[in-house]
Amino acid sequence: MRMNLEDRLNENPELKKQFDELDAYIDEKASQQGSLINVMHRAQEIFGYLPDDVLYYVAKRLNVPRSTVYGVVTFYHFFSRVPKGRHTVSVCLGTACYVRGGSTVYDRVMKTLGIKAGETSQDRRFTLDLVRCVGACGLAPVVVIDKDTYGRMTPDKVVTLLNKYA
């Protein structure tokens, strides 16, 4: 049988630290109306993704039904229910990138990493995402890896770029 969250927190100081951090953020935001989305953003930053435990915990702390939390998390693209890789590669397929060859870049990334959008490579090195415009249209096509944006991409350039991320 699965242990309850409290017991697991007592056993795992690392996990406890993460939940404490989330707790502190919720305390700070508790007085704000409708802070659920902001709290989920913070939770994803802390945990890297949003497992059931976190969803249940937030529901309890914010006093909203679990179904509401689940509904919100699954509605928005930004929230992930599965663990992500060490690096997130987001290929932009907004219009400007698309008309300047973004899909050839995307195809090459898929081929190189062997995964599709929304998937994570076996070795957890990369998670591949498709995004619809990051607002750097002047330099289309654009690829974002973690927090860095790279412009004027080509299929060949993107492969070189990926190799820089271990």
């Binding site: 704000q32 109306q33 409708g34 802070s35 659920l36 989305i37 902001n38 989920m40 953003h41 509401t68 509904g71 919100v72 509605f75 928005y76 693209h77 930004f78 929230f79 397929l93 907004g94 219009t95 400007a96 990138c97 698309y98 008309v99 300047r100 995004v131 619809r132 415009c133 990051v134 607002g135 750097a136 249209c137 002047g138 330099l139 289309a140 654009v142 927090k147 944006t149 790279y150 412009g151 299929p155």
Partner: protein, 594 residues
């Protein structure tokens, strides 16, 4: 003593092009020459000419250096600042002009612009509230507090300002309706969920001049009687969120936000709410639900947000660019605002010029400017000498403006007449290499992805349209498909619940209207005239160019290419799956794509 200022563009595109390392190189070079105390480095918001980045401008001369990199950044210091001579290799040289441009005033991209919304972008340090104030910042607020709510609203109404988010609804009417609505508290909301792919003006304003939005929201709060404001920003814009957050703190410190603003007794504060990646949240009722922490599902209007918005209370909601217009209107008056633009769409409009145009970037021009001026005079024409085919406006809700309408003055109403919308101002320029059927399919796929699922016409209807588009592009189009798309599109327009669904068929209907022959070519001749749709292409090998290197045969995933080493290869058309792998791998341009 500061003798020179170096303005470095720290807009999104220039950061991507390496602005940070250029700045570091400049700092290092200044120190090496011992003049770090004489020269001030200022990182500004977006200067607009994204294609020329990273950009460094040296003041007081205003010398405009473009495409600066780590290697040559030092020259600006060692040559310009130390020896007093410009660095010719970093100056802009237009394709048609005889000599190089010294300042931005000599570059056609800039000379035709009228910067009102972008008045401070690229001119001031967005992190410095002092610089904003020095450019008449918060002067509009001071004036507004003296004018009182009725006069503020009258001025906004008289100015004729229309919502820059897309629909062009008169801003003053919204303000008045919110003020007159019963119920309290009231709220002021800024829609910064710039979801239209290809548009980034709101991002640039929030990053480059965040105080202009804050000031306008305080004015709006005072005018409609609200004490709380929310700025809803896309999660895709972390830098905008960071700079806005900092600006809010500074505004509070200086007494422009919080309790008893400028000793007027008026209290107002602003919170940031971050989106989470849902295009539908750009629709105002969906956005309000998202601020409430719920799924972004739109609701039927009326009631309008002005009557029942956030938590059911009267709410004023305007877009970033609309707010950025407010303070100058109050300072200079309604007549000043109307002095440019057209009579029904006064003022300026910021366009994001992207796609196949030479000079990509952000431009602000008077309403009524023609597409020809935008694409050819400011944009420098089409890349690689190709032919202009059309400009897609309004993102997935809009349509295409074709070459026939290059001389039509663009404002809210003229674009509507030809079946598209102004939208937020994204102008995606398409050339002869773009397939209009493919572009329309691209937008539909986007909509299918982003439809919230609440109403059937949008959820199911767009999916059906997409299936038809898909089979057309796959070479399986049937007679009558165009008619089916038209009638389905009409139903979706008329019966969808919110703006997303009502406009979703626009890209398809608009491209059918102007490029029906391309649709027919796909369906009847099974040909893609622009050579884009993969399944309608045939790959063959030019025997004159093939050297028999076997690269293509090795790359082919289905062994469709035969031939011996150093002999001409041949593609078996029956086996070929048209993946294009051979085309990419061939180093001798021997693969023909038709």
């Amino acid at each position: 003593m500061i003798r020179n200022q170096l303005l470095i563009c720290a807009g999104g595109a220039c950061i991507t092009s390496g602005e940070k390392s250029v700045k570091d190189a400049l700092v290092e070079e200044l120190a090496r020459n011992g003049i770090q105390d004489e020269v001030q480095i200022i990182e500004t918001g977006c200067m607009g000419a994204c294609d020329l980045g990273p950009i460094v401008v040296v003041y007081p001369e205003g010398t405009f250096y473009q495409k600066v990199n780590v290697q040559n950044a030092g020259l600006i210091v060692s040559e310009h600042l130390v020896k007093g001579r410009t660095v010719p290799e970093l100056l802009y040289h237009g394709p048609t002009s005889e000599k190089k441009a010294q300042t931005s005033e000599e570059i056609p991209f800039y000379t035709r612009q009228v910067k009102r919304v972008l008045r401070n972008c690229g001119v001031i340090d967005p992190l410095s509230i002092e610089e904003y104030i020095a450019r008449d910042g918060y002067f509009g607020l001071g004036k507004a507090l003296e004018m009182g709510p009725d006069e503020i609203i009258k001025t906004v109404q008289d100015s004729g300002l229309r919502g820059r988010g897309g629909a062009g609804f008169p801003t003053g009417i919204k303000w008045k309706a919110t003020k007159d609505a019963t119920g309290s508290p009231k709220y002021v909301v800024c829609n910064g969920d710039e979801g239209d792919p290809g548009a980034f003006m709101d991002r640039s304003v929030l990053e480059g001049d965040p105080h202009s939005v804050i000031e306008a929201m305080v004015i709006a709060g005072f005018a409609v009687g609200a004490a709380t404001g929310y700025v809803y920003v896309r999660a895709e814009y972390p830098l905008a969120i960071e700079r806005l957050d900092y600006a809010l703190k500074k505004a509070r410190e200086y007494g422009f936000l919080g309790k008893n603003i400028l000793n007027s007794g008026f209290d107002f504060d602003i919170e940031i709410r971050i989106g989470a990646g849902a295009f539908v949240c750009g629709e105002e009722t969906a956005l309000l639900r998202s601020i409430e922490g719920k799924r972004g599902i739109p609701s039927l209007k009326p009631p309008f947000p002005a009557q029942a918005g956030l938590w059911g209370k009267p709410t004023l909601i305007n877009n970033v660019e609309t707010y950025a217009n407010i303070a100058p209107i109050l300072i200079n008056g309604a007549d000043w605002f109307r002095s440019v633009g057209t009579s029904k769409s006064p003022g300026t409009k910021v366009f994001a010029l992207v796609g196949k145009v030479q000079n990509t970037g952000l431009v602000e021009v008077p309403m009524g400017t023609t597409l020809r001026e935008l694409v050819f005079d400011i944009g420098g024409g089409i890349r690689d000498g190709k032919k202009f085919k059309g400009a897609q406006t309004g993102g997935p809700s809009g349509g295409v403006i074709t070459a026939d309408y290059l001389d039509m003055p663009i404002d809210f109403d003229t674009v509507k007449e030809i079946g598209t919308i102004m939208g937020s101002g994204g102008l995606v320029i398409l050339d002869e290499d773009n397939c209009m059927v493919d572009v329309a399919k691209f937008y539909l796929e986007f909509i299918v992805d982003e439809s919230c699922g609440k109403c059937t016409p949008c959820r199911e209807g767009t999916r059906q349209m997409y299936r038809i588009m898909e089979r057309i592009c796959d070479g399986k189009g049937r007679g009558g498909d165009v008619e089916k798309l038209k009638s389905l599109g009409k139903v979706i327009q008329l019966t969808s619940l919110c703006g997303l669904g009502q406009t979703a068929p626009n890209p398809v209907l608009s491209t059918i209207r102007f490029f029906e022959d391309e649709y027919r070519a796909h369906i009847e001749d099974k040909k893609c005239p622009a050579h884009v749709c993969k399944h309608l292409l045939t790959y063959s090998i030019n025997p004159d160019k093939c050297v028999g290197c076997t690269a293509c045969a090795r790359q082919c995933p289905v062994q469709a290419i035969g031939g011996q080493v150093k002999k001409v290869h041949v593609i078996d058309q029956a086996t070929c799956i048209k993946c294009g792998a051979c085309y990419e791998v061939c180093r001798f341009d021997a693969i023909l794509k038709e």
